[in-house]
Each structure stands twice: as C-alpha cells, then as structure tokens.
C-alpha cells in the first residue's frame, strides 16, 4: 500500500444535528484512526474514532449522501468507535474512482458541497485538515482519478467487542477492577487514553456498555462512577449476545432472507415419480410429523409457531402427492393401494389450505436458519472461546434439531426431484410401461445406461486404428507424464 494513495471513505456524520448543510460551520466532529487488536483474530486492525472537535478546527465531511447522515445521527449518542470495512474493487471487473467537485454551486456555498475525503493511511491521531479555502481546494485537486476503486465504509462498533478478549481473560475476569485499572492492563491502554482525551463522553459511554455485561461493586458513593469496580458476568454477557443474535435474525435484510428461503424451499416436485414417492413417504411421515413436534415440545416451550408443524408438513406432502397423481404416474396398483387411500384422505382434508407457498419452509425453520446466519455475522467479532460458548448456548435455547431434520429431508427431496428430472428428460420418449419396469432403482440403472450410450457414441467417433492401438499391451510402459512435466497453460 502506497501511503500517498488517496482513499474514499464513507464517514459517520458530523454531530451537528441540523442536516441543513449551509450551517456547516457548526459541525463539530473529527475522525481519527487508531489501531486495536481485532477481538477475534488478535490482528492489529484500524478503527475509526469519531469524536467532537474543537469549534475552531475545520469541518470534515464525507462523500456520502444525506440520507446516510441522518441514519447515523440517530446513533451518535452511543457510537464513537467505528469499524472500517473495505468494499474491495473486484479483480474481475476493475473500476476506478473519478472524484470531481460539484462545480456549479461551489462559489456560493463551498462548505456545503460533498467532497472527496482523501485519507492517507499512515496511522495518525491528529484530525485531517481539509479545505478551509474553497478556491485553494479547487486548484489543488479539482478532479482526481483513483486507480483502485476500493470503498471504505465506517460502521459503528460496540466498544465492548474490543474489550471482550481482555475482560474475559483469566487475569481480569476473576477480580473486580476499576475502569482505570482495567484499561491500564489492556494491551492497547494507550489507545484508550487517546480516545478518552479526544472524546470526553466516551468514558461515560464505555461505563454504560460495561454495566451490561459486568457485575459492579461501588467503593465510593452510589453515584460516583469513578469508584465503580467491574467484573465480567458471563450470564449477562451471553444474555446480551444472544439477544443480539436474535435481534439480527429478526432484522435480516430481505436479500438475505429471500436467499435463505430459496435455499430451504422444497423443490417443486412435480416430476417426482410415484415409485419414489411411496418409498420416501412412508419413512417421511413417520420420522417427521413425529420427530419435530416431540422435540420442540419437550425441549423448548417458548418456541412459537412450532405447533403449526403438523399442519404444515402434511400439506406439503399431500401437495406433492397430488401433483404426482395429477401426472398419472400411478404405479402397480397392488403396492400403491394402501398408501393411495391414505393419501387421498389427507388430500381431501387439507385441500383448502394448500396454497402456492406450500413449498416454502415453515416459519420456525426459517427463523432457526436466520439465527444461525446471524450468529455468523456476530462471530467474527468474538474471541474463539466466547464464540463457541455462544453458539452452544444459543442452540440449547433454540434447538437445531428441527432444522437439521428439515435439511436432511430437503436433501432427500431434492435428490429425488433431480433424479426424477433426469429421468424424465432422458426418457421423455419412454412410455408408462418403461417407467413401471424401471421400478425403484430407476435413476441408477438410468445412469448406467446413459454412460454406456455415451461410451458407444465416443467409440463410434474413433477410427479403427485408434481403437486397435488402444488394445495394444502397454504393460511396463510408463505414461508420458512420468517423463515430461506439465507445462503451464499457454
């Protein structure tokens, strides 16, 4: 990384609550970059510190639009440490930044323009001085092209995560410690001191964060924050973390939830042959409508929506069955008789409930899956030990068995659907008799036949001489690759 390369950052908004940017002079916030060890990986990582600045210093503004500004303003009360996320410029579609001043209104209202913020990467704690004079700025870099179009996003980070590895380390987790002692023993105590000096409120904020996960003992008066001693309380910690996982799971963005739902959806198994249907059905109805309900009822009472399971699943079943029978893929009657009757009944009962969404996963399964996904978002911020304990605690609170069972079932369904699809595609000309003759092992036999056919086709392409040469006894002869090494593809 060349230190001189300008970089594009999206920074938290200035603390001025007025989004009216004509009063830009009142904005009083600055940014510094500090290095902390990453809580999970222990790798030194840069974090952005957002802190109020003295009124005299010039304002810094960011390249982002005002809608982002507003959303961040609401968080301003609590956040002072920001994580820097790099949105990399993908190698397969190279881009560049073109940064140009918005020229027309420049002369009138220079400070209101959104402008590029170039930030040298060298680690520094002093605020950047930016464009006190608009004309000077224009001369300096009226426009600019940055080769690597990386975008650096800064997002609020709970300072707790930075403290967690230290809090939970054996040294500090046993004794009550005052905040000063706690931070003094922290490997990056200097950085914390810098933060406190930059951001007067940060110490108070940090204490409120600590209260959430720590037991406290007061040595002085009740209200004296300085005398409070902290010790980590694991129950509190995991309660907090789990509540976060749950909150994230409930608020996953639509793009992720649709993806998950798509992954979990049952294949629209119209081509499923009845031969397969009957096999899997007998096992499925037994394991499923039994298994899930029992588990959920025994292990967890506060799981909501679990009770809907028995209705939901047969609905899916009968949907499949109905479609299968629609296709007239009825098997040898003797074997089908018993099942058919049963199936018919169920179909009648729940026919009304069947909707187009019946192949979607049941909501509680979706929620479980969302939980495990949101856990993955949180885990990168946690030290390994905490992260594993968190996942076990979370999964005892929300048992994963229904999800696992559902996934297994889904796998079987998908495999069967694929097999059926292959079958119907390669044998579209075949008649019903062939289907029946194929019986249970259709897909396997099918593949075998396909393989033979392909081999034959390939053989037909070969000349007789090539075929003869293939039959030559090559015993004792090494392959050419044993003598000559592979060259890199040209």
């Amino acid at each position: 990384m060349a230190t001189a390369t300008p970089r594009v950052f999206i920074l938290p908004a200035t603390t001025s609550s007025t989004s009216d940017s004509s009063k830009a002079g009142t904005s009083t916030a600055e940014h510094s970059i500090l290095t902390f060890n990453h809580p999970a990986t222990d790798v030194p990582t840069r974090y952005l510190i957002h802190h109020p600045s003295s009124p005299s210093s010039s304002s810094t503004s960011s390249t982002k639009d005002s809608s982002n500004n507003n959303s961040n303003n609401s968080n301003d009360g609590g956040a002072f440490i920001y994580e820097i996320l790099k949105v990399a410029n993908p190698a397969h579609s190279p881009r560049s930044w073109l940064i140009a001043p918005d020229s027309a209104p420049l002369s009138l209202n220079p400070q209101s323009q959104s402008q590029s913020q170039s930030e040298p990467q060298n680690q520094k704690t002093t605020p950047e001085k930016e464009q006190p004079n608009p004309s000077e700025k224009e001369d300096d870099k009226s426009s600019l092209i940055i080769k690597d179009a990386h975008l650096y996003l800064t997002t609020p980070l709970d300072p707790l995560y930075l403290l967690l590895p230290h809090l939970s380390s054996p040294k500090t987790s046993r004794n009550f410690l005052s905040l000063d002692d706690l931070l003094e023993s922290h490997p990056q105590s200097a950085q914390w001191n810098t933060i406190f000096s930059l951001h007067p409120n940060s110490q108070r904020l940090l204490r409120t964060r600590l209260l959430l996960v720590c037991d406290t003992v007061s040595t002085g008066g009740e209200d004296d924050d300085d005398e409070k001693m902290y010790r980590i309380n694991e129950d509190k910690l995991y309660k907090l973390l789990i509540s976060r996982v749950e909150a994230v799971a409930k608020a996953l963005p639509g793009s992720i939830t649709t993806y998950i739902t798509k992954k979990l959806s049952k294949p629209i198994g119209t081509q499923v042959s009845t031969a397969w249907k009957r096999q899997s059905e007998s096992t499925k109805t037994n394991t499923k409508s039994g298994g899930i309900i029992n588990d959920s009822h025994l292990e967890n009472d506060d799981e909501e929506g679990e009770g809907e399971d028995p209705q939901e699943d047969p609905a899916v079943d009968s949907q499949l069955r109905r479609e299968a029978s629609k296709l007239n893929l009825q098997d040898t009657p003797a074997a089908a008789e018993g099942q058919e009757g049963k199936g018919e009944d169920e179909t009648m009962i729940i026919e009304d409930e069947i909707t187009t969404t019946s192949h979607l996963p049941p909501p509680e399964i979706q929620y479980l899956s969302h939980l495990s996904h949101s856990l993955q978002f949180l885990q990168p911020y946690l030290p390994a030990s905490i992260s594993t304990t968190l996942s076990t605690k979370l999964f005892t609170l929300h048992p994963q068995e229904p999800l696992e069972k559902y996934l297994e079932e889904l796998k079987a369904l998908k495999a069967a659907a694929n097999a059926a699809l292959d079958f119907s595609m390669s044998h579209s000309k075949r008649t019903l008799e062939d289907l029946e003759a194929g019986g249970g092992g259709t897909s396997k036999e099918n593949m075998e036949r396909e393989r033979k056919r392909k081999k034959k086709e390939e053989d037909a392409k070969k000349s007789t001489a090539v075929k003869k040469l293939e039959k030559v006894d090559t015993k004792g002869m090494m392959k050419m690759t044993a003598f000559f090494k592979k060259k890199d593809a040209k």
């Binding site: 392409k461 070969k462 000349s463 001489a465 090539v466 003869k468 040469l469 293939e470 030559v472 006894d473 090559t474 015993k475 004792g476 002869m477 090494m478 392959k479 050419m480 690759t481 044993a482 003598f483 000559f484 090494k485 592979k486 060259k487 593809a489 040209k490």
Partner: protein
C-alpha cells in the same frame, strides 16, 4: 486472425494421415512462429509433437495465439479432397468456431473451399526438455518402416540395441525370433540412403512394435528418420519437414522383456 498458405497441400495431408491413427482430436496451436501440435494417444504412452514453422508458409499471418481444436478424422476427410500439388490456405478468426480450408489448383483453375467445425479440447501441454541422447541413429525412413513391419509379424515388441558399430532390432515371438542389424554406411549418391550412428554409450531398450508401425505412417514426409535413444527416457522418432518436424515419443517397455 490466422491466414496461412501452404505451397503443397500434401504436407498437411501427410502429417494428418500420420497422426490421425494415434490421436483422434487435438489442438493445432497457431502463433506467429507457426503451427504446432502436441498430443498423446489414448493410453498416454506415446506423444506426438508437430511443428510447421511460419517459414513453411507463404504468406503466413497469425495475429494472436489461436488453438484450433480439430477432430483429425474430420480434417482428413476434407484434406482428401485436396490434390497433392494444390495450394492450401488455412483461415480462421481470432475466436474461431470453424476453420476454413481453400484448395487451389493452378493447372485446372479450380478452387474448392471447405469449413470444418472446431471443438473445444481441454489439453494439457507437456514441457519436453532438450535431451542429450545416448544414441542417435539416422536411417532411410523406408528402411525403418520395413524393419518395423517385418518384425511386427513375429512379435509385439522389439528391442533396439545400439552398440558402437551397429544397431540391432531384435524380437522373439511364439513362432520364432528374428533380428535386423544395420551398420552405418554412407551413400555418396543419395544422402537419404545413408545410415548414420552416433553413440556416447551403448543402449538396449524395448518398444511396442504396434506403436512403431503406427509412427512409420509418417515415412512419406521425409526420406530419412532419426531415432534417438537413452536409457529410461522415451524413444524419439523424428521426421524432418522443410520448415518443421514431426516427432513421436514412445515410452520404453521396462521389466518384462519377452
């Protein structure tokens, strides 16, 4: 794009004729140096490497590297439509899906044009190092072809034994055994009928005759053939062409000498 004109269609005809029984599909790699080909047989014990240098064509133009994946049988079918003395022009786009062949007969004012569909062939290239061989034998290609044909009637494999003053091809089979011994000699009238032998150390290796017979289909390309042998490396059978070569490599048989 590629545009290459060959004075005599028979050169390409003979090359393809010689290798089409060894490999079925292969890539013709075209670059500014000429047209090259490298392919292994299905058993991967033999390798053919061909080069037609750009000097052999007039004109030759190839702007960027192009790999022409061709089924050699299909190519042969088209090439059979060309007379030996025809002018042959190969043309292909930069991202070709077909190869255009143009045959021009100067005598008859006849022009025929063919397109061959190309295929995507995933081929790995082997790096073939320059090797100092222990024995290098140059002999008339017809002679080599005859030896291979005669001995293949008796056996599957032949041992080639090179000593300082002779080279002996020997085989033994169910019905008996046989051998042919050649001594170097120089034919002053016709260089192509001479037999030369260069030796740094004596070697004795065994090879599959079926493969050698197959290689001999290239005999019409050149009046002489060069055999290069060393212990524990593949035999090199080289036919030189005007501005290129056709080389065959064959792994020796190790262990079970019959």
């Amino acid at each position: 794009m590629l545009e290459a004109r060959l004075e005599q269609a028979q050169i390409l005809k003979k090359v393809v004729e010689a290798i089409k029984d060894l490999v079925q599909d292969c890539n013709f790699d075209c670059n500014d140096a000429g047209i090259q080909l490298q392919a292994m047989d299905n058993s991967h014990v033999a390798l053919v490497s061909m080069k037609l240098g750009s000097d052999g064509f007039s004109p030759y133009r190839c702007d960027r590297n192009i790999a022409l994946g061709i089924n050699l049988n299909s190519l042969m079918k088209v090439l059979r439509a060309a007379a030996n003395e025809d002018l042959l022009t190969l043309k292909a786009e930069d991202q070709p899906d077909s190869l255009n062949l143009l045959f021009e007969s100067s005598e008859q004012d006849r022009v025929s044009e063919y397109d061959i569909k190309l295929m995507d062939i995933d081929q790995e290239h082997l790096g073939i190092p320059e090797t100092e061989y222990a024995a290098t034998i140059t002999l008339p290609s017809a002679e080599f072809q005859r030896i291979c044909r005669d001995l293949s009637a008796l056996s599957e494999s032949v041992s080639i034994e090179a000593t300082k003053d002779s080279v002996k091809f020997a085989c033994s089979g169910d019905i008996g055994n046989g051998s042919v011994t050649l001594r170097p000699h120089t034919n002053l009238e016709d260089e192509g009928k001479s037999t030369k032998l260069e030796l740094t150390e004596p070697v004795n290796l065994t090879f599959s005759l079926k493969y050698l017979v197959n290689f001999c289909k290239a005999s019409s390309l050149s009046s002489t053939v060069t055999l290069c042998l060393s212990n524990e490396v593949p035999l090199l059978v080289e036919y030189k062409m005007g501005a290129g070569y056709l080389r065959f490599y064959l792994a020796p048989k190790i262990g079970d000498e019959e």
